[in-house]
Symmetry: C2
DNA sequence: AATATATACATAATTTTCTTATGCATAAAA
DNA sequence: TTTTATGCATAAGAAAATTATGTATATATT
């Protein structure tokens, strides 16, 4: 990632959600999609992305399929069933996080 | 902090905003205020909070005043002028973060 | 034809930020 | 009187990132 500290801890959520939406993606594709959606405001760094993908795979949340494009290799990742469940949890955590941060920084959102 | 990874990197923003709103607070008071606002969903840990306060003070963003309550000590922190400016920046970063994360996880929010 | 940029993966060293554990001490409640 | 709450602090370790490299092919540019 290349941005403010706030993105620390968000990478897994981002990866899972994009895979949830696009079914199958490879690493470089994920970096480009994030750049596109955030209009260059968030740039995933390879040093963060690849280890994160490996970790998710090791946890059984992603399956990987290696494809040769000409002489080059691509690794396509997709969610496992466990990965899909985890995505739901991570998205709920994000909503909770945003709700709490809004309440903390904006008294208007401190309801009931 | 005691919660999901998402809160990583948010502590400074939280501290600055609460001090911006309350003028002067001490460490323990900040932990209680955060608990109250988030209904126990976010608990600041002392191991994170106190070093963060010391760091902000060292950076010239906070001033400290030591008060004796009976035989006990409290350290009241308040924003310096630089601290007030930094608060504005941090809040803008948070809004940007939330906007980008919303766009990433919710295709509906991907407006030009 | 040569060179720069884009595509595509990977890992190691270091830094940042936090958790967990511990320590000291007083005040209030059970 | 013993637990809980108040109030500060720091050190060891873990987690997650940044930064710096490395390898290699494909495409654009000069």
């Amino acid at each position: 990632m290349k941005s403010t500290n706030l993105y620390k801890g968000s990478l897994i959520t981002i990866i899972l959600k994009l895979l949830n939406e696009h079914d199958s993606m490879y690493g470089y594709e994920i970096t480009q999609k994030v750049k596109e959606i955030t209009k260059d405001e968030l740039q995933l760094t390879e040093g963060a992305l690849y280890p994160a993908l490996h970790k998710l795979e090791a946890q059984g949340l992603l399956d990987v399929e290696v494809i040769k494009i000409g002489n080059r290799v691509r690794k396509y990742y997709k969610l496992t069933e466990a990965g899909t469940k985890e995505t739901v949890d991570k998205l709920a955590e994000l909503e909770s996080y945003i709700r709490n941060m809004r309440a903390l920084v904006n008294p208007k959102f401190r309801l009931e």
